[in-house]
Every structure is written in structure tokens, then in C-alpha cells.
């Protein structure tokens, strides 16, 4: 039972981690909050739905196509909502990305309608038994795919010249420009990566949880919380934060099942509903911010006086 929950939490957390990673990459490169990162997840979900209708391929084969389409869109979005504002205070980008989010949400409503749609599963949804643990193929595939993407990202950052340049740009833009790194291209590349990761998360999540035009807000709040918990600007922190959120979301509503003593009936089901779970998580985050205004593990991005 506990193993089962843990597995589900890992699977969900891996998908959230992709969203949070994209969010934190943009923060590092631009010190701006990309508020439409959640809408990118939605866009990835709908892209998968549309591709599946036309191509009739399983999700795993759609993944590369989704990644490429989303990366291109990421560059377009940076040209529209970031580059015209790069010399302005970071909060301006916050607002411009809210605007971009509104545009995308309403375009999605027009194109796909407000009803929830399901993206194809990666390799099917049947259940498999690993000893006492029943595992759905989809959850396993999500975990493996997301883990592979995170590893690929890690390799990109540590093993390639492109990755080193991206990191140099994130650390100190002027310095990077001074030693001849094409800073603008690197930032556009960061947006491409961030959007592609969100798109991948959209494909992964939209089979189990469906996709609707307005669900981006939920994902952006999760990415935002993951980054806050993990330390503003910290890449491993964002992954850890996403994992913690997923763990909470999976374990909290299951509490009455895990601990039989918590009782049953109306009060218990109200106390451990999905909604209460969100409220409790929200309050925990507020307490964290109150006790440690610099985030749980401190800030990785240092503000210069």
C-alpha cells in the first residue's frame, strides 16, 4: 500500500518536475517569472491531442514531435513576451506572460472547446503487478520518460558546450556577453527548453488528468511553489520541491486509508478531500514563507544590492 502510493507520487512528481525545471531555467537566465509556464503544459496537452487525432500514434512516438513543436513555440514566445522587455524590471515580464497566458487560454478554448480532452497514453494503460505493487503502464512510462528527460537535461548542462554557455549566461549575463557568448541566442534557447519541458509534461499528464484550456493556473502555482520550497533558482531544488508537492498530493487524501484510526464518515472525507488537500498545502507554503522568507533552502539567485 505504502509502496503503491510512493510509486504514484514519484510518477506524478517526475511530471511536475519537468514543469518546475522549465520555470526555474527561465528564472536563472532572465531573473523573471514566466507566468505562462503552466499554460505551456496545457498547450503541450492540446498539441498531443491534435497530433494523436491526425497521426494515430502512441504517446511515446508523439513525444519527439511535441518537444520540437513546443521548443519552436518557446522561441516565438520569448520574442513576443520577453525580449521587448528585457531592459525593464522583471515584474514587467510577469505581466507580459500573464497576457500571453490569456491569449493562449482563449485560443485553446476556440480551437478545442472548454471540455476536458485526453491525450493518448504513452504505451497503454493496463496494470502490471510487481510483487504486491500494482502499477499502471502509463504511470511507469511517465516516470521513466520524465526521468530520462531530466537526465538528458543534466547531461546537456554538464557535458556540452551549449549547456556550459547556457549556464554561463544564467550566472552572469554581461560577463557571458563579454567573453563572446551569443547571449540572446542562449536566452531564446532557454525559453525553447523550458517550453519543451512543459510540453512534455502536458503530454505525460493529459492522459490521466485530461487537459482543459484553463488548467494552466494550477500548474503554474505548483511550479512556483516547487521553486519556492526548493530554493529560488536552484535546479535540483525545483526537482525536489516538485517531488514533495506530488508526495503531499498523493499521500494526504489517502490518509484515512493509511491510518484506519482517523475514522470514516462525513468529517473525515471532508477533512481529506482533494480541495482540503490543496488548502492545507497552500497554508503550509504560507507558513514556510512566513518562517523563512528566503525559501526553505535559501536562495540560489543572489540579489545584488
Amino acid at each position: 500500500m505504502a509502496l503503491q502510493l510512493l510509486f504514484n507520487a514519484f510518477s506524478l512528481g517526475a511530471a511536475y518536475a519537468l514543469v518546475a525545471l522549465g520555470f526555474v531555467l527561465v528564472i536563472n537566465a532572465t531573473s523573471a517569472v514566466n507566468f505562462c509556464q503552466g499554460d505551456m503544459v496545457m498547450l503541450g496537452g492540446f498539441t498531443s491531442v491534435a497530433l494523436a487525432q491526425g497521426l494515430h500514434l502512441p504517446g511515446i512516438l508523439l513525444m519527439p514531435i511535441v518537444l520540437i513543436i513546443m521548443a519552436v513555440l518557446g522561441i516565438v514566445f520569448s520574442a513576443v513576451a520577453y525580449f521587448p522587455l528585457q531592459r525593464r524590471p522583471p515584474e514587467t515580464v510577469f505581466i507580459s506572460t500573464i497576457a500571453l497566458g490569456i491569449i493562449l487560454q482563449n485560443l485553446a478554448t476556440i480551437l478545442f472547446g472548454p471540455e476536458p480532452k485526453a491525450a493518448p497514453s504513452l504505451i497503454g494503460t493496463s496494470e502490471m503487478a510487481f510483487g504486491p505493487v500494482m502499477v499502471s503502464r502509463q504511470a511507469l512510462a511517465i516516470l521513466v520518460t520524465a526521468a530520462l528527460l531530466i537526465l538528458a537535461l543534466y547531461a546537456l548542462f554538464t557535458r556540452t558546450q551549449f549547456g556550459r554557455r547556457l549556464r554561463a549566461t544564467a550566472q552572469d549575463r554581461e560577463m557571458a556577453a563579454a567573453i563572446g557568448i551569443p547571449v540572446t541566442a542562449m536566452i531564446a534557447g532557454t525559453f525553447a527548453l523550458a517550453t519543451a519541458l512543459a510540453g512534455a509534461a502536458g503530454l505525460l499528464l493529459s492522459n490521466t488528468f485530461f487537459v482543459t484550456p484553463t488548467e494552466g493556473t494550477n500548474y503554474i502555482i505548483k511550479a512556483y511553489i516547487a521553486t519556492t520550497v526548493g530554493g529560488w533558482g536552484s535546479i535540483p531544488g525545483a526537482v525536489a520541491g516538485a517531488g514533495l508537492i506530488a508526495l503531499f498530493e498523493v499521500v494526504y487524501p489517502a490518509m484515512p486509508v493509511i491510518f484506519q484510526g482517523l475514522g470514516e464518515g462525513k468529517l473525515s472525507s471532508a477533512l481529506f478531500s482533494q480541495t482540503t488537500s490543496t488548502i492545507v498545502l497552500d497554508i503550509v507554503i504560507l507558513i514556510i514563507l512566513f518562517v523563512r522568507p528566503q525559501g526553505l533552502f535559501g536562495e540560489a539567485v543572489r540579489v545584488r544590492a
Partner: protein, 597 residues
């Protein structure tokens, strides 16, 4: 600070507004009147938002929630308890203000991106509660049958009566908001927005200003919510959703976030926009997003900002005449207060670490009243850190700071500033849009700033007039009277330095800390600055000057102190310190020190 351009634009827009109102009342259909009533309600919401987002510059994402709480309060009061709109108003305004006060405690001190997140999360919690608590709030379906607005036992019918009521409130709110933000308090907000640290060192209580702005936002939002629920006649959780917040943000950006006229103009534009873009049909919400994006990129100060630009072109600033210099009040420097042998400032065993780096290591030093103390030391030796500790920007891990006999170690920056310690910054921190005069004047009034004072003072604020006159005297003292009416953004570097020193002097400091005042000045300017600083010192102000430029500092200072790696390595006359073996070593290395006689 209401500039002339801003006043011109406000009068122009006000005239247009009255003409439009007459036209609408004469010809408007019930539908148009209802739409415009809704626009008026959003104008109230945006007037409130202008306090926290415009004046205080904080991206709060809770404004829609404050409006929603006001709407729920007023709606539930009238449906469930039969309390009419006007009687319930104290509660429907008070509840969002109370909510703001509660969340302000943990949230307001957060940095901008955490503040946005925290206010977003709180909004999510309130929405979820409203949907979950079905027995009280009606849950997702809400509650129907909300009665119309009732004023003094008379029901206000829909149509022109509601239109006039709502816009009456808008006019009242606009006048109230204008009173609250004019004069010195407006300038104080501008300084805080540009550089909150600098504002605190001018004696401005930034936490209090931000708190007041947040509560005022909630106040107007509550009023807007109460009017809204009695106009659309139904309670629905939609009003707590993120889209109301986005509408409010769009209004602020489109109209101009810093101006009340911007809030009103923005509301009319945004609420009417879907009407004009009707030909777009289902795409009109996309157009909404596009409009917001275009405004953010092309006109960051909104339509009112654009109009003010035009107004400045039409009536250039050149014609502005500076006020006459007013006599400065007799200083608070009194020789008998501190006998010359007791130090004015005493640092004992100050310790400060940044992670593993020891920035200051048991530093003790004393500044005697009336002296000019020069502080030297290589880059990174801890000089600026020391000033930051004295002015309260950093808290030391150990040690004590005693100023004129009282311990100020744990005091907040604005409290320290008000006791007579002023400073300048290595990188000049002035408000570019404000004139040099107003940049100085804001520091003159910082200790008597307040929302109550702004409300209580007569129409032409005498405090502002006095402050400007005195600021003129200070600019004259530092030799910058000719540029008094120029916006600081247009000034050359040397002038900006001088304006900043004049601003620090405006606090009538007993101790003035100058962080590299001669950097970037040419030799003539340096000589002039040294002469004027001597005058300041002769008037009884004690000076601590950080400089690398020995040709400037050595003749100016009475005494030198040299810091290296966070420790005091030498102290004495300028000549003694400059030839000290350890000092030469610190600057030039061991080899150079060995060459000394």
C-alpha cells in the same frame, strides 16, 4: 507628486468624462447604463489597486479577492440577514481590510516574486473556501436574489440612478485617493518604488507606507465588491476567480498604474473594449490579452502616461521657476550636547559574515564630534559593509553601535536616519522622473509623512511648500541651485552626486556618511566638493568619507582609518596612515612595503 503635466491631463480627462456622462444620460439605453455602471465599479477596484501596485509598486494578486470578499459580505448580509447595502457597508469594506491586515503581517515583507505567489495562494484559498462552504456561501452555484442598492432606506433602481450612484462613489473615491497620494507622500512612494533601501535611509518608514497602501487597496476593493453584488444581483464564486484579478491588472496597465485618472480611464476602456471588439466575436478575449501585451511593451505608463508625454511637449518644463530658498531651521547640532572628548559614534567589536566570508572582524572605532574621518582600504575590505551596519541596512552578528550615547544596533534604518545619521550610496539612488528639488524635498518631510496628515492638511499643502523652499536652500548650499527644476534622469553624473548629498543633508544629520563621493568627478568638481564639504563640517556636521582618491581625501580629512580584510589596520593622521607599512602592504603588496625606509 502631482506634476503639472499630470494635472493638465487629469483636467482634460475630467472634462471629457463629464461630457461623456451627459451624453450617456441623455441617450444611453439601459444596457449601456448598466455596462458603464460595471465600468465604474471596476474603476473603484482599480483606484484601490493603484495604491499597492502603482504607488507602492508591489505586484499583489489579491485585489480581485478583496473585491470578492466585499461582494460576498454585502450579498450574504442582505440575502440572509436583511441588512441593506448602506448599513452593511462598514462590514463589507471592513472584512477585506481586516483580511488585508492579517495577511500583510507575514506577506508584505516578502520580496516581489514571493509576494506575488503568497497573494496568489491566499486568493486560491479564499476561492476554495467559498466553493466548499455550500451552506453559507451557496457553493459553486452562489446565491441569487440579491436586492438592489439601498441608500438611506431608498432603493436605487437600475438604469440612470444606479449609474449616477456608482459614478458618485467613483468621484468621491478619486478625490479621496488624490488627497492621500499628493505632495510629499507621493514623492515618498516614488523613492520607495525606485529604491526601497535608499528610502529607508531617508527616514521613510517603508513598511508602514506599504502596509497603508495594502489596506487602502482592500478598502476600495471592498466598496467595489459591495456595489458589484447589488448591481448584478447575484453572488457567484466567479468574482473570486483569477480572471477578475487579470481584468484589474489590465485596467491598471492600460490606463496607467501610477495615476488615479489612469485607473478610471483604464476601467472604462477595458470594460467597454469587448463591446467595441464585438466584431471579433469569440476572439474578443484573445484581443484582450493582445491589448495587455501591447500596452506592457509599448506604453508602460499606460494611456495617461502617453497623454502626459504629449502635455509635456505642449508646455515644456523650461518655463518652471524654482521656489525661493527658505531659511533652514536652526540645526539640531548643539555643542553642549556631546562634549568633544566623548565619541559621536562608537562601534565596538562589530562582526559581520556573509556565508563563510568574514566581512568585518571585531571592528571597533570611534568618530569624534565635528571631525572629518577618512576611511580607506582596498576593494572588499569592508568599508561599505561598515556603513550599511551603522545605517541599519545590515544586522551585525556581534558588537554594538552607539550613537550619541544611545544603542542603535537593533534599530531599523528609518529610525536611525531620523536620529541624524544620513548617507549617500556608491551608485547614486535618485528618482529619475522627479526634479532635483523634489528629490531633496522628500527627505525634508520624511519624518512627518502619513496618510492622516495628507487627509488633514489643507488643499495647497504648506508642508510641501516649506519642504521645497528648504530643499532649494540645500541645493544652493551644495552649488546645485541652477538645476533644481530639472528631472534627475537628465542630469550629468557630477550633478547627480551633488543632488544626492543635498538630499542627505536634508535630514539635518549630525553624522553624514559619504560612500565614494568624488568617484567620477573631474578635478574642478572634486575641489568644489571638498570646499563645500568643509563648509558642512564647519556648520557642525561630523563626516565619515570613504574614498580611494587620496588627492581628494588627504587634504580634506582630519584623521584616517584603514580597513583590510575586515580589520582596522591603521589609524592616525592622513600622512601617518598613508606611510604605514601595513597599509602600503595591503594596497601594493609585501614587496612595495619592503622598499619603504
Amino acid at each position: 507628486m502631482i506634476s503639472r503635466a499630470s494635472r493638465d491631463v487629469t483636467i482634460f480627462l475630467g472634462a471629457c468624462g463629464i461630457l461623456c456622462a451627459i451624453y450617456v444620460l441623455a441617450t444611453g439605453s439601459p444596457y449601456v447604463l448598466r455596462e458603464l455602471s460595471i465600468a465604474g465599479i471596476y474603476a473603484l477596484l482599480a483606484i484601490g489597486y493603484h495604491f499597492i501596485f502603482g504607488q507602492a509598486g508591489a505586484l499583489a494578486l489579491s485585489q480581485g479577492t478583496f473585491m470578492g470578499v466585499g461582494a460576498y459580505a454585502s450579498g450574504i448580509l442582505s440575502v440572509r440577514y436583511g441588512v441593506p447595502f448602506d448599513v452593511g457597508l462598514p462590514i463589507s469594506i471592513g472584512l477585506p481590510v481586516l483580511l488585508a491586515a492579517i495577511i500583510a503581517v507575514p506577506v508584505l515583507r516578502l520580496q516581489s516574486h514571493y509576494f506575488a505567489l503568497a497573494t496568489l495562494i491566499i486568493s486560491q484559498i479564499v476561492l476554495l473556501i467559498a466553493v466548499q462552504w455550500v451552506s453559507f456561501t451557496g457553493g459553486a452555484n452562489g446565491i441569487g436574489g440579491v436586492p438592489a442598492i439601498v441608500l438611506l432606506d431608498r432603493t436605487v433602481p437600475p438604469g440612470w440612478a444606479t449609474f449616477l450612484t456608482v459614478w458618485g462613489f467613483v468621484v468621491l473615491a478619486g478625490l479621496l485617493a488624490a488627497r492621500l497620494t499628493r505632495g510629499l507622500i507621493g514623492s515618498a512612494f516614488a523613492v520607495m518604488r525606485v529604491n526601497s533601501t535608499a528610502a529607508a535611509t531617508l527616514g521613510i518608514d517603508t513598511a508602514w507606507l506599504r502596509f497603508g497602501a495594502f489596506l487602502l487597496s482592500a478598502f476600495f476593493a471592498g466598496l467595489a465588491g459591495a456595489l458589484y453584488v447589488h448591481t448584478i444581483r447575484v453572488i457567484s464564486p466567479e468574482i473570486l476567480g483569477f480572471s477578475v484579478m487579470v481584468t484589474c491588472l489590465t485596467i491598471a496597465m492600460l490606463g496607467g498604474r501610477y495615476r488615479i485618472a489612469g485607473a478610471i480611464l483604464g476601467a472604462v476602456l477595458v470594460i467597454e473594449l469587448p463591446e467595441w471588439f464585438r466584431f471579433l466575436r469569440e476572439y474578443y478575449l484573445v484581443g484582450y490579452g493582445v491589448a495587455l501585451l501591447v500596452v506592457v511593451i509599448a506604453a508602460p505608463d499606460g494611456f495617461v502616461g502617453l497623454l502626459e508625454h504629449v502635455a509635456v511637449r505642449l508646455r515644456p518644463r523650461m518655463s518652471l521657476t524654482p521656489p525661493a530658498a527658505a531659511a533652514l531651521p536652526a540645526g539640531r547640532i548643539s555643542a553642549d550636547r556631546a562634549p568633544p572628548e566623548t565619541p559621536l559614534l562608537q562601534l565596538t567589536d562589530i562582526e559581520k559574515h556573509f556565508g563563510g566570508v568574514r566581512a568585518l572582524d571585531h571592528v571597533s572605532l570611534a568618530i569624534r564630534p565635528g571631525e572629518i574621518l577618512g576611511m580607506i582600504g582596498p576593494n572588499g575590505s569592508g568599508k561599505t559593509t561598515l556603513i550599511n551596519i551603522v545605517t541599519g541596512l545590515y544586522q551585525p552578528e556581534g558588537g554594538r553601535v552607539v550613537f550619541d550615547g544611545s544603542d542603535i544596533t537593533r534599530q531599523r534604518p528609518h529610525q536611525i536616519a531620523r536620529q541624524g545619521i544620513a548617507r549617500t550610496f556608491q551608485t547614486v539612488a535618485l528618482v529619475d522622473e522627479m526634479t532635483a528639488l523634489d528629490n531633496v524635498a522628500v527627505a525634508r518631510g520624511s519624518h512627518r509623512l502619513g496618510f492622516w496628515q495628507a487627509l488633514a492638511s489643507p488643499l495647497s499643502d504648506p508642508a510641501l511648500r516649506t519642504a521645497r523652499g528648504e530643499a532649494m536652500a540645500l541645493l544652493t548650499l551644495i552649488g546645485a541651485e541652477t538645476i533644481a527644476m530639472m528631472p534627475c534622469g537628465t542630469l550629468a553624473y557630477g550633478w547627480r552626486r551633488r543632488v544626492e548629498i543635498a538630499r542627505a543633508l536634508a535630514l539635518e544629520p549630525r553624522l553624514l556618511l559619504l560612500d565614494e563621493p568624488a568617484a567620477g568627478l573631474n578635478e574642478t568638481e572634486q575641489a568644489d566638493l571638498a570646499r563645500r564639504l568643509r563648509q558642512v563640517a564647519a556648520a557642525g556636521c561630523t563626516l565619515l568619507v570613504i574614498e580611494h582618491n587620496m588627492l581628494f581625501l588627504a587634504p580634506l580629512a582630519d584623521r584616517f582609518i584603514c580597513l583590510d580584510y575586515g580589520e582596522v589596520i591603521a589609524e592616525g593622521t592622513p600622512a601617518e596612515v598613508q606611510s604605514d607599512r601595513k597599509v602600503v602592504e595591503a594596497y601594493l603588496g609585501r614587496g612595495a612595503a619592503a622598499a619603504l625606509p
